[in-house]
Symmetry: C4
Subunit: 208 residues, 4 copies
């Protein structure tokens, strides 16, 4: 059993995040899904297929850490296991955001298979928890897209067990996953990663 | 005869769609036209030449499936027959949106005559009705622009009789037509297509 | 003497145009100036140096067709004579807008001296008064920038005496002038020209 | 001792500047810092790490010209000495804004070490105090990024002692510093510099 008021509080943070992320063009056409931790065993997550800029009461459901619905007839996002893998792996994660921007999508298709994105020399790297200087390297792996979410969840889990300090990952042709201790931290990570993606693409346009 | 309350409801959906599409920059300078089905024989459609971000009472008229005005002295869009061709061809279509974005216009001029746009490997293809995986191909034909709308309507009708599952088409140097069962579906299709157009153009800039 | 209520009406149309144009990023950093006709001998025009997104009572003054202040201690824009040249030349012009977008600025610097911009094959050309088909050519001359406005006003007057059907001009590294019978027409012309400028630049990026 | 009402007035100007700059995308992910002069010995400045689009009461603190907190337990921005160097050097400076746009970041990384950005032939150069014609040259130096702010502050001070008429500087991979007599002047400088940065990058994309 979970605390219902706590559900209501984190559900509101998800609704507000959706309004912001849709407004920035990062969650178009009912894409994306968002979640936030209620307690050590329960997660609030968006119901599948909703308009992310117009989330309302009833569009955020509860699941357990295995991704099973709790007190709900709704269907959670098809990608629920990508969220729960992160909550299981990182006990201090409080929110996970999955977004679909044009820049993340294009970049994820440009990175050759087996390579990852590496950012260095950007002051904005300090927006990530634990990064103190631009003289660090932030790496973002790119996983191949698949409709088999169970396999993909396993792949991401294995990668982040070995790279726990890295702040997110891309799925090719699909989008970004990032997380944080609080929803505010997580939104800051989305903004920082989208900033870095855009810097990279603008640079590539000038120096193809 | 049609139900007037039903007219009012779909007219409102058109006014709201205009506010959204103009706000995104996809219907500039009084371009574009939008329609929605009232019943099996009547369509609500924007009056010719109105500002699409400022549609008001009186800017949405009624036509029959042949494009003739019903209970109205207004002049429907010059492109009315492109709308009615779709309603005739697809009985479950409830809304048709024609937009004029920069990206759709530029892409439509870059595609060589006789070729079409093909999208694959994008997760966002799942935004289209009936698409279940990114491992599909969405194709968007490009018709030559003409002021002879009757001929163009016939061309589009013939193409979509053979490709009923495809979600839209471009007219060269002109813009996009897409449709859906409901206005919400149709708006999702516009967003998804504009997303794919932008991805394609950003990619072409980096890899000319 | 002019009708004061008519002044108030056109001044309001200028204030609203400023809010729109600044919001689109086309009048940054107190650049740009706007005017609208009060009657055959009087023009309302923005006072020099004001923030165009925050125009308020007192920021729109009256001048005569020679550009001299009427019932005002304010200083009109340094470019006032570019406005009055158009009102003198075209008796049916009701509004003139001068804007400073990034795209207009960049394009105006890319066009070689002595050449002009020509647009054809765009459906949106029909947004200009008198254009009925995309199979027309819209030409936009580019004048060299100078702080000698009197000379520039004369050059523009001469060009448009010979090309009265063309809807606007650029000044190199500086911005756009366009006009219309009403403020709504004039704003439609700005939107249509900015659309064409962006199409052109996006195309040039893909096919340098 | 400083006048508390004067603090409240300049703090409000900082809060409003933050809302504007964040809205434009120039201060993402809690980056940036802003300040404004209270009197000859006191500066109001943003507290470290706050969301710049959501600054509220308590997010603006007071420091002296050496960067030491006055009547506050808060920690000022790590870059406080870059602000105080400008207030010390230029007694008529009333506001300093440091922003982190994509364009400023990318451009600062593209300029070769030891070179600076030079803008000429842009009418918008007249947005800077003291510039009367587009036939001038505005130069923006690019300093190497470092977490040693004391050293960087000294470098900037030395450069501007020799170039007091120039309106701003970049730090590589980091962002822009600019200033003005009033907050309105300073915001106009940010807008004008961002305009010039974007013009430069759009031009580089077309002519790589």
């Amino acid at each position: 059993m979970f605390d219902v008021n706590q559900y209501a509080v984190v559900a509101e943070s998800i609704v507000n995040a959706g309004r912001f992320l849709y407004g920035r063009g990062w969650s178009p056409a009912t894409s994306s899904n968002y979640s936030a931790r209620i307690d050590s065993g329960h997660i609030a997550i968006t119901v599948s297929g909703r308009h992310k800029g117009q989330l309302a009461a009833g569009d955020v459901m509860v699941i357990d850490l295995q991704g099973r619905p709790v007190q709900s007839e709704c269907r959670a996002s098809a990608e629920t296991l990508l969220h729960t893998a992160l909550y299981q792996e990182f006990p201090d994660v409080g929110a996970v955001l999955h977004t679909h921007s044009v820049n993340a999508t294009v970049l994820s298709r440009l990175v050759p298979a087996g390579e990852l994105l590496a950012f260095e020399g950007y002051e904005l790297q300090k927006a990530f928890d634990g990064v103190e200087t631009h003289e660090s390297v932030v790496t973002i792996p790119v996983f191949e897209n698949t409709q088999n979410i169970e396999t993909l969840a396993e792949e991401t889990r294995e990668w982040f067990m070995e790279h726990p300090a890295q702040p997110g990952y891309l799925i090719r042709g699909h989008g970004l996953y990032t997380w944080g201790k609080t929803m505010a931290d997580c939104l800051r990570h989305v903004e920082a990663l989208e900033f870095l993606f855009e810097c990279e693409l603008v640079t590539m346009r000038v120096r193809p």
